[in-house]
Amino acid sequence: MNFEDLKTAWQEYDIKLQSTQALSDKLIVSMIKERSASRLSKVKRRFNFLSLYLAGWTFVGLCILIGNPFDYSQSIEFIPIWINFICMLLLLFAMINLTLNLHKTEVNQDSLHSSVNKIIAIISEYEKPAPILRWALRLLIFSGTFLFPLSFLPRKIERLGIWGGVGDMLISILISAALIYIAHKLGAFKHHQAEKFQEDLRELDELKSLSKEMQQQD
């Protein structure tokens, strides 16, 4: 058996496929009405959701800064809220920028080579905010766990005395720290993200090798 026999086998296969029953209109219509599960569509939806989520928290931060619900009287007390607000705002801008870039991208009618390259660019872009996101998250946790309870210290000292105030603040910090530690142990911060990141990197490498292979031929 040689390559020409394979060609005949392929033609035989093609004839069999063409003789299969036609797809019903109902089936095609219902399939195209479903949401796309492609990598690109999923990333777009995830970015939209994250942008909305960050916009919500930025708005909450802004309301706190304007409305002062904690009755802060000194500028220094606002530091944790400002840190949260600035982190959220930076992340929101980064996310909106990426989301807009992603929405401009359509890969389907390109050649396979340029399509692979576009997907590589998208995944690289998608991974870009990961380190910033990690640092912003750390800063947010630090600010929420330590600085936020600290901002109430002057009033607590006034009300409970120095040791009572410091003790009360330490209890708040310890409870928050314990909750974060438990969440960390349960894998809330590390496990899933690391796994996903590794998966994305594997995918990126796979696509890069495909692109490289096509380039080598040129």
Partner: protein, 163 residues
Amino acid sequence: MEQPFISLINQHRGILYKICNLYCDDEEDKKDLFQEILIQLWRSFPSFRNDSKPSTWMYRVGLNTAISNFRKESRKPERFSLSDKELQIPDLEEMSLKSERLGLLKQAVEKLNQIEKAIIMLYLDEKSYDEISDIIGISRTNVGVRINRIKSKLETIIKHTTS
């Protein structure tokens, strides 16, 4: 717009079946890929203005989806909800049980990488070098070089399998 799209899909449904069979082994994966390609074809249908042949457009979208857009992580929860009986992708595996030649073809093609699979599928479908070059995005000369390499690779696989 739906009716011309449906008839075009039906006219070239073999292309979709072939891509699904070449790029997926599992029945569920094939159905997911089939649906994903259909969605992507539907989305790009308004911009398809017969600049190229409908089959070229379908190969492009289908192969791009199979290679770059389709990932297992994003499947099951969003798959269409019709009964499985309504979509039966003719299985190459099943056909190959009845035909020795098809069995050999399947075994040989499985040993190729993703790009090689795409090129050889287009070649076996008797697409011109220009069309293959257009769909894959490599030069016409290199299409020829690549096809020759794949052919000898396949012949070696066949020799090993049949001896």
